[in-house]
C-alpha cells in the first residue's frame, strides 16, 4: 500500500488548503523529510515535507483547493506497482476542486428598497407601550387620541380618560349609532372653484343661507357634521375622528380645488382638512374658529344641548350674538324644531363631551395654522361670548385677520352682507 500525502491542517480555522507549487514532479523519487510542495492558506504559506521515502504519483494539480485530510498525492515504495489512485483507508476523501471550476462567489445582494422611515414615523402616533396596550385591548385607534406627554406622546392617562368615559361614564346619553356618509348639500349653478362650507356645533347646513347670495357665482357645497342636520349620528372618539369623517366627505367630492369656509367647530375642521389636503384647498376662511385656544364657553354648549323646548333654548342662543334682538322667538322656535329629535340632541351632547370636556377645547390646531400655505383669513366678532376672539391673535402673520367690533359668535348671521362680501372679494 502506498503512503498517502494529505493536505495537512496547519491553521486553527483552516478547512481547505491550496497547492501553491509542487517542488518535485510526478514520478520523482523523494526522501522522507524532503520538502515536496507549498500550501497556501488565508494566513500563510507553508512547506510540506514528504512523510516517507518513495516515488510520487497521482498528484493533484497546482492551484487546486484541497480539503484538509484529503490526499494530494501518493508515495510508492520501490517496486510497488502504480495503478489507479488507491482507495483511502480513512473516511472522507473529498476530491480536490480544480481551480478553474471554482464556484462563482455569491453576488453581493443589492440593498432592498427601504421606505422612508421619516415618512412612516410621521404617520405613527407617538405613544407609550402601556398606552398602546390599553388602546389595543379596548379597540381604540391611537390616531384618534391626543397625547399629553412630551412631544404629544400618548400616555396611559390619555387613553384612560377615554376609557373611563366609554366604559364607566355616568350613563352616556343614549342614541343609536348610524352608519353612512355625511350629508352633503349642493346648490345648483355657479362656476369655477367650488366653495365648501362647514357649519358649527349645534348648527346645520341652513346656517349658511344668509350669506349664500354673495357666494352663489361659485358652486356651493355644504357638508353637515356628524350628529348634525341630516348626517348620521355617530359616537365619536375625539376630534381626529370628526375630522376624519368630514375629510372623507370632502375627499368623496372629488374636487381638484376648493375654497373652504368653516364656522366655529366647523372652522377647526376646515383648518384640519386644509392642513392635510393643502394641495386641494386654495383658500380658507375661518369664522370664529375653534381649536386656536383652550377655553370655550361650556355653559352655552351645555345649555343648547340640554334644551328640549324653545323656552330653554332661547337664552342660550342669544348669547351667540352681540345684538340679541335678531334672535327672535320665531328664530328660536325654528331652531328648536330642527333639534326636536332627542337622538340628535343626545348625539350632540356626547360629541360635546368628547370635544369640549369641562369647558375646554380638547384639541389644539395652533401648530396646524402655522403650517398653512394657501391664502387664509380669520373672521371674528369681538363680542364673541363663546370663543374668545383673542385666540385669533396667535395666528401667524400671513393669515389675514378681520375683526368686527360689534359682532358676536355668528358674524355671518348678524352681518351677512359684510361677511358675504368679504369672502366673495377674496375668491
Amino acid at each position: 500500500m502506498p503512503t498517502e500525502i494529505i493536505m495537512p491542517k496547519v491553521d486553527m480555522d483552516m478547512e481547505t488548503g491550496k497547492i501553491a507549487a509542487w517542488h518535485v514532479e510526478e514520478g520523482a523519487r523523494v526522501a522522507e523529510g524532503e520538502p515536496i510542495f507549498d500550501i497556501e492558506t488565508d494566513k500563510a504559506a507553508m512547506e510540506v515535507e514528504a512523510p516517507a521515502n518513495g516515488t510520487l504519483h497521482h498528484l493533484v494539480p497546482e492551484g487546486a483547493e484541497v480539503p484538509i485530510g484529503a490526499p494530494v498525492g501518493w508515495l510508492y515504495a520501490e517496486g510497488e506497482e502504480v495503478g489507479e489512485p488507491p482507495v483511502r483507508k480513512t473516511q472522507g476523501p473529498e476530491r480536490a476542486k480544480e481551480p478553474s471550476k471554482s464556484e462563482p462567489k455569491t453576488e453581493t445582494p443589492t440593498p432592498a428598497p427601504v421606505t422612508s422611515t421619516a415618512e412612516v414615523a410621521e404617520e405613527k402616533p407617538r405613544a407609550t407601550p402601556k398606552a398602546r396596550k390599553l388602546a389595543r385591548d379596548n379597540g381604540i385607534d391611537l390616531a384618534t387620541l391626543n397625547g399629553s406627554g412630551p412631544r404629544g406622546r400618548i400616555q396611559a392617562a390619555d387613553v384612560a380618560v377615554l376609557d373611563d368615559r366609554q366604559h364607566a361614564a355616568p350613563v352616556p346619553p343614549a342614541f343609536n349609532n348610524e352608519a353612512g356618509p355625511l350629508s352633503v348639500i349642493r346648490s345648483r349653478g355657479g362656476t369655477g372653484t367650488p366653495i365648501v362650507l362647514i357649519h358649527g356645533f349645534a348648527n346645520e347646513a341652513a346656517a349658511w343661507s344668509p350669506i349664500e347670495s354673495h357666494l352663489s357665482r361659485r358652486p356651493l357645497i355644504r357638508i353637515e357634521l356628524p350628529c348634525h342636520g341630516k348626517s348620521p349620528k355617530r359616537r365619536l372618539s375625539g376630534f381626529p375622528e370628526l375630522v376624519s369623517d368630514v375629510r372623507r366627505a370632502f375627499d368623496d367630492l372629488g374636487l381638484e380645488a376648493a375654497h373652504l369656509v368653516g364656522h366655529s367647530l366647523g372652522g377647526a375642521v376646515a383648518l384640519a382638512i386644509a392642513d392635510t389636503r393643502g394641495n386641494r384647498v386654495d383658500g380658507l376662511t375661518l369664522i370664529a374658529p375653534a381649536g386656536l385656544g383652550p377655553d370655550i364657553n361650556g355653559a352655552v354648549i351645555d345649555g343648547i344641548g340640554r334644551a328640549t323646548r324653545a323656552e330653554g333654548l332661547g337664552p342660550w342662543l342669544r348669547q351667540l350674538v352681540a345684538d340679541d334682538t335678531i334672535i327672535t322667538d320665531r328664530y328660536v322656535r325654528a331652531a328648536m324644531m330642527s333639534r326636536k329629535d332627542p337622538d340628535l340632541r343626545a348625539a350632540q351632547m356626547a360629541m360635546a363631551d368628547v370635544l369640549f370636556p369641562d369647558g375646554t377645547q380638547a384639541f389644539d390646531l395652533r401648530p396646524a395654522i402655522g403650517r398653512l400655505a394657501m391664502p387664509a383669513r380669520i373672521v371674528w366678532g369681538k363680542r364673541d361670548a363663546i370663543i374668545d376672539w383673542r385666540h385669533a391673535l396667535g395666528a401667524p402673520g400671513h393669515i389675514a385677520l378681520h375683526l368686527f367690533d360689534g359682532l358676536g359668535h355668528l358674524p355671518h348671521l348678524e352681518s351677512p352682507d359684510a361677511i358675504g362680501q368679504l369672502i366673495a372679494a377674496t375668491l
Binding site: 407609550t128 407601550p129 402601556k130 396596550k133 399629553s148 406627554g149 412630551p150 400616555q155 396611559a156 392617562a157
Partner: protein
C-alpha cells in the same frame, strides 16, 4: 431571611455586621480562612476584619503581600482543594490587578473541567466614591464582574444584608463577589445575632409605591429612599427596589414592580454606560413588562469620567438625592 430561633436584633454597623459574619464562619468551619492585605493586626484598611486575628491567629487571618494577582490565585487554588477562603481586596480598584485569576480561572474552572470541580471562593471588594480617594480608589466595577458567567455578584446595601449575603456566599459552591460601598461601612442598622442567610439572586422591595419604580444598588438604595420620602410630600409614591444581587438578576421582582407602576428609574453609582442600568432596562424591554411601560426608562448613573478628587466634583459625578427626585418626579408626572 431564615434565622434561628432565640436571636436578638441589635443595631450595629455594616462593617461590624460583616465582621460578625466572618466571625461566625471562622468559628463554625475550620476550612474558612481570611486572606488580604493588612487584614491582620492592622484590622483591614476599613477596619472590617478588626481584631479577628486575635481570635483566630495569623494562620487563618492571613496578611498577604501586596500581590493581588498572586493572592487571588492562591485563594482560587485553595478553594479548589478544600478551603473556603474569603479574600479581601483593599480597594475594589485593585481587582484590576487580579482580573486574570478572577475572570479566567475562578469563573471558568468549573465549566472548563466539565463540572469536575467547583470554586467556593468569596471575594470582598470595598467600592465606590465619596471618600476623597480619587480616581484609582473610588471606582464601582461590579458590572465588570457581572459580565462574567461563572461568578455571582452581590451588593449589600444594609448591615443586615451585608451579614446575610456573606454567610450565603460562604454556603455557595461557586465564586461569589461581594461589592461593599465604603460609605456604608459606618452605617448602622438592625442586625439579628447568630447565623442567618440572605438569599443570593433575590432583590428586596424597600418601599412600596404605585407611581414610579426606582431600581437601585448599594448606597443608591438609601439615596433613592430619601428621594422617595421627599416625593411622598408631593403625592408621588415611589417604589424602591434594592437589587442586592446583580448576577443573577432578580427579574421577577423588578418586572412585577414595572408592571404595576409603568415607570422605571435605574440608579447606580457606576459609570452609566454599559452598566447595570442598561441590563435592567433591557430586561424590562425584552419582557412582557414592556407593555406596561408608560414612559421611557430613565437611568441615573455615574458620569463618563474618572472619580475626581475635589469633594464638590466628586459629588457631581455620581447621582445625588435631588437628581433622583427630579428624575422620578418627571416620570411620575408624565413629563419624561
Amino acid at each position: 431571611m431564615n434565622a434561628q430561633a432565640g436571636i436578638e436584633v441589635r443595631e450595629i454597623s455594616y462593617a461590624q455586621a460583616i465582621r460578625e459574619a466572618m466571625d461566625i464562619a471562622l468559628s463554625e468551619d475550620e476550612r474558612v480562612i481570611l486572606m488580604g492585605e493588612d487584614i491582620g493586626v492592622y484590622g483591614g484598611a476599613f477596619q472590617v476584619t478588626g481584631d479577628l486575628v486575635d481570635k483566630y491567629g495569623t494562620d487563618r487571618v492571613m496578611d498577604t503581600p501586596i500581590s493581588e494577582l498572586g493572592g487571588a490565585g492562591v485563594a482560587v487554588g485553595a478553594a479548589m482543594t478544600g478551603l473556603r477562603p474569603i479574600f479581601e481586596f483593599q480597594f475594589s480598584d485593585f481587582a484590576t490587578l487580579a482580573m486574570e485569576q478572577i475572570v479566567n480561572q475562578a469563573a471558568k474552572v468549573r465549566y472548563m473541567l466539565g463540572g469536575a470541580v467547583s470554586v467556593p471562593l468569596v471575594m470582598r471588594f470595598p467600592a465606590g466614591s465619596g471618600t476623597g480617594a480619587a480616581a484609582q480608589h473610588s471606582q464601582s466595577l461590579e458590572a465588570w464582574l457581572g459580565h462574567v458567567p461563572g461568578l455571582k455578584v452581590v451588593q449589600p446595601a444594609t448591615p443586615e444584608d451585608a451579614k446575610g449575603l456573606l454567610l450565603a456566599a460562604l454556603d455557595d459552591p461557586d465564586p461569589v463577589m461581594i461589592f461593599e460601598h465604603k460609605l456604608l461601612y459606618k452605617m448602622k442598622g438592625q442586625v439579628p445575632s447568630g447565623r442567618y442567610t440572605t438569599p443570593i439572586g433575590k432583590a428586596a422591595v424597600r418601599r412600596e409605591g404605585g407611581h414610579v419604580t426606582i431600581v437601585a444598588t448599594a448606597i443608591m438604595v438609601h439615596k433613592a429612599l430619601d428621594a422617595a420620602k421627599a416625593l411622598e410630600d408631593e403625592g408621588i409614591e415611589a417604589e424602591v427596589i434594592d437589587l442586592r444581587t446583580i448576577r443573577p438578576l432578580d427579574g421577577d421582582t423588578v418586572l412585577a414592580s414595572v408592571r404595576k407602576t409603568g415607570k422605571l428609574l435605574c440608579v447606580y453609582e457606576a459609570v452609566k454606560t454599559l452598566g447595570i442600568g442598561a441590563e435592567v432596562s433591557a430586561m424590562v424591554a425584552e419582557s412582557d413588562a414592556f407593555d406596561f411601560l408608560d414612559a421611557p426608562i430613565v437611568r441615573l448613573g455615574g458620569a463618563e469620567s474618572p472619580i475626581p478628587y475635589n469633594p464638590e466634583l466628586e459629588k457631581a459625578v455620581v447621582p445625588q438625592v435631588p437628581d433622583i427626585i427630579e428624575a422620578a418626579r418627571g416620570l411620575a408626572e408624565g413629563r419624561t
